[in-house]
Symmetry: C2
Subunit: 195 residues, 2 copies
Amino acid sequence: MEAAVSLFNVKGYSGTSIRAIAEKAGVNVALISYYFGNKQGLMERLMIDFLEEYTNITEKGYRDLANSTAKDCLSYVVENLLKYQQQNHHLARFVHREVTLDSTLVRELMMTYFMKEKHFMKNIIEAGVKQKEFRPVASDFASIQIRALVTMPYSQPQYIREVYHLNPHETYFSQKYYSHIEKWLNEFLYKSVLV
Amino acid sequence: MEAAVSLFNVKGYSGTSIRAIAEKAGVNVALISYYFGNKQGLMERLMIDFLEEYTNITEKGYRDLANSTAKDCLSYVVENLLKYQQQNHHLARFVHREVTLDSTLVRELMMTYFMKEKHFMKNIIEAGVKQKEFRPVASDFASIQIRALVTMPYSQPQYIREVYHLNPHETYFSQKYYSHIEKWLNEFLYKSVLV
């Protein structure tokens, strides 16, 4: 699976053959066919694995609303989504790219995972606004903006590397980047409305 | 060229043949070959056209530092990048996707366009910090974050449409989204440090 993802990131999904994947992985084509059926099956499996865990992190943040502040829940989600992408950076890059295509699979994944993610994020933001922990913001735009900040270095790692000379796949980067997002959130969202 | 971009957005670059492009455009293959050489030539032309104008907008904001505030320069850049992407949304989506691949072309485009863009953005931010119009922020991270916010709806338009039921290709959306980015910038960056 790692071989597949690394080839997809160089040549794109359509530009990569099952034969090339098998060669890079040092296994034979039949083994891949046995486990995944075909290239489409392999891709689906990769995307589902990634999005399942990605969505679980947001869901955990949402469930914690019952016994923590909205601020802590949101910070938990942001920090752990960054860490998860940093640890699975090849796969993150592949999935973030593939979901920009107009396919039936992508539409299904959106209905299954991204709708849930939106639900959890909007609920965390709305809880914060309601409890006056957050400024009154439009939860849909705030949620889109937070997602933009969280995914950017992992959908565009090469840009970050070549243009900014920073390495999104390093723990150091995800921690530093997290602290910068927290600064935005502090000023924009968390600054007490009661001051 | 529109036919090519719309096919690339459904099937990806490698999944689209010159023949399919010619068919969709209602011209013959020879005409495309005459103008662009081959599919690679067509793609290069599309990406360069898009990035040339994209970079020009940021450059204009940077040049205006000579006779406006850093805040006005940055707002100009953000507003016009959103408008430009909204007006060229098919192309924007294609380019934002293709630059996530590891190819020689992408590396060259980064050196040519993205390095310039970074230079302009960092200079605007640093000018604002120096003149105490902006809070003291790390200009590289702030620049990455602003780029994340500005490109998100146009690299992921289908996500915005299907999950949030908003339409990034409409003027209404780009204006509304701009006002939300301005709110972030107001709280995070522009809030006077002298209060």
